[in-house]
Amino acid sequence: MARELQLMKGNEAIARAMIASGCDGYFGYPITPQSEVMETLMAEKPWETTGMVVLQAESEVASINMVYGGAATGKKVATSSSSPGISLMQEGLTYLAGAEIPCLIVNVMRGGPGLGTIQPSQSDYFQSVKGGGHGDYQLYTLAPASVQEMYDFVFDAWDIAFKYRNPVLILSDGAIGQCMEKLYTRDNVARWSEEERRANAPWGTWGKPAGRGHNIITSLELDSARQEVFNHKLQAKYAEMKEKEVRFEALNCEDADYIIVAYGSSSRIAMKAMQMAREKGIKVGLFRLITLFPFPTKQLAEVAKRVKGILCVEMSAGQMIEDVRLATQCGVKTEHFGRFGGIIPTPGEVLEALENKIIK
């Protein structure tokens, strides 16, 4: 497929982008509101075209460990799920990070805690960027705000994952997963040839050729001194991501008196609220996070110096706001506005919150 304008659901865009970006394997388990990812893959039968393997696993626990096994052979492997399923995957994620296995995980968030609701939510921010599993690790976390970004970020994810040998998380939500929007598809990227796989993932376990030592994929190091050295190596990698791989979008921030900080679906609502505010003569800007880890700390701090107040909008009880306050060293009045439990706030509510919590 070449560049072409299409109308598509966010979940379908994820699936089509996987096929188009040369993904070798997908392992998943059905859960609302993201089941269309695997349904699309199964309907498309990519094993007959690109050779991509698609398998419905017995659980999310099995899915993420299939990602581990497949991706550790140096191939591009992905899974997707929604919040309760992602909770089940946390053990696998920390193993993936600890064994430095590049891969892609998509979380189409729904409301929690527990079985919660099947409606959109953004209450997995802490789980995503503060280490949902045990140990000191980070997932490179991308937050798409449109169906187009659902599609594009799959392509971007492979580059980052293999550059840093680190799992990449696309943190979306039920609203973007379920809504239909136009998007431009991209030229297909062929799956890696055997030579490309070996060149891009020399650490992979595909059968030791004569002349090289055996490759071992493990997150175990019983010698504490060596385990500490390894942890320093991981931290250096995360520091490099913070330096080089931060992504964000600043809209109308140059002349803004107030800014809204948001990501994903909330940033779309915030954008409308910003327009409504500007129509009323209030100079509001939008600072949209694209990477949640690495967080655009320096860039937000720079913008924050010029404003009188910050409203954080998130479909949660207020999780992202902690990183916003850290970034600004609490130097600016910063408040949270959110609906949760699956409720999506309206632009009017956001504007009202801005006026009541920040401007007044």
Binding site: A57, A62, N65, V77, K208, H214, I217
Partner: protein, 282 residues
Amino acid sequence: MNKDIEARKQELLNDGYEEVYTRTKVLTDAVMHYCPGCGHGTTHRLVAEVIDEMGIQDQVVGVSPVGCSVLAYNYFDVDFQEAAHGRAPAVATAIKRLNPDTFVFTYQGDGDLAAIGTAETIHAANRGENITMIFVNNGIYGMTGGQMAPTTLVGMRSATTPYGRRVDLNGYPLRMTELLSTLPGTYYVTRQSVQNPAAVRKAKAAIRKAFENQKQKKGLSFVEILSNCNSGWKMTPVAANKWMEDNMMPNYPIGDIKVDGKICEGIDANRLVLDHALTVMQ
């Protein structure tokens, strides 16, 4: 090979000694951490010999568990992945599906395979994944200090059943091998042991068959190896092997259960569907 070992070997050969037995090249020089007398070392060697004899060292990817054999990757000179506790069959599933030309084997103990990893084991088997599973059953959690395993016999003492396993408290021991034999996805299901030379030879033949089946793309082959855990059972290796023969084997009978996708003759339904607890014999 380790230079010191190589030099010593040369010395002995110069002195007129003859080499009649040697390390297989599929095992590394690493010194194994297994307790003397445990069945893991022998079982490792058998798997390595089969890989060597089939000439597939460059095509093998192994998956180690969490438990006593967590460090198996240090001992086999083949590509290896260390899986999360119980997840080896899921890990192996993806390795094999994405790399159908490799030989994939899992190596797990009873806690890993039959407790925390029960779902992954049953579903990999039921999908008929074309892999080889080696299951070392010693009726105890060895690595963590001898706690009750899913295969611990009724009446058997462990760190968490100091008065012996009780059905009213702990339920029944699980026979994974018999259970898996009832699934259409399994092609070869057998139980072997490695406590004496005759048993070792049979176990090796079974492991060879399990890898040959994978070569022929026949589906899942499952080889249970009964082993003692002399340190966990708090016995000498010799006494532990005797105890295994007297108590484990009547409850976990040795031999093939399913060959070429068919339940073997003489294995009747009563053997596969138990109406009694597996109990310590003495």
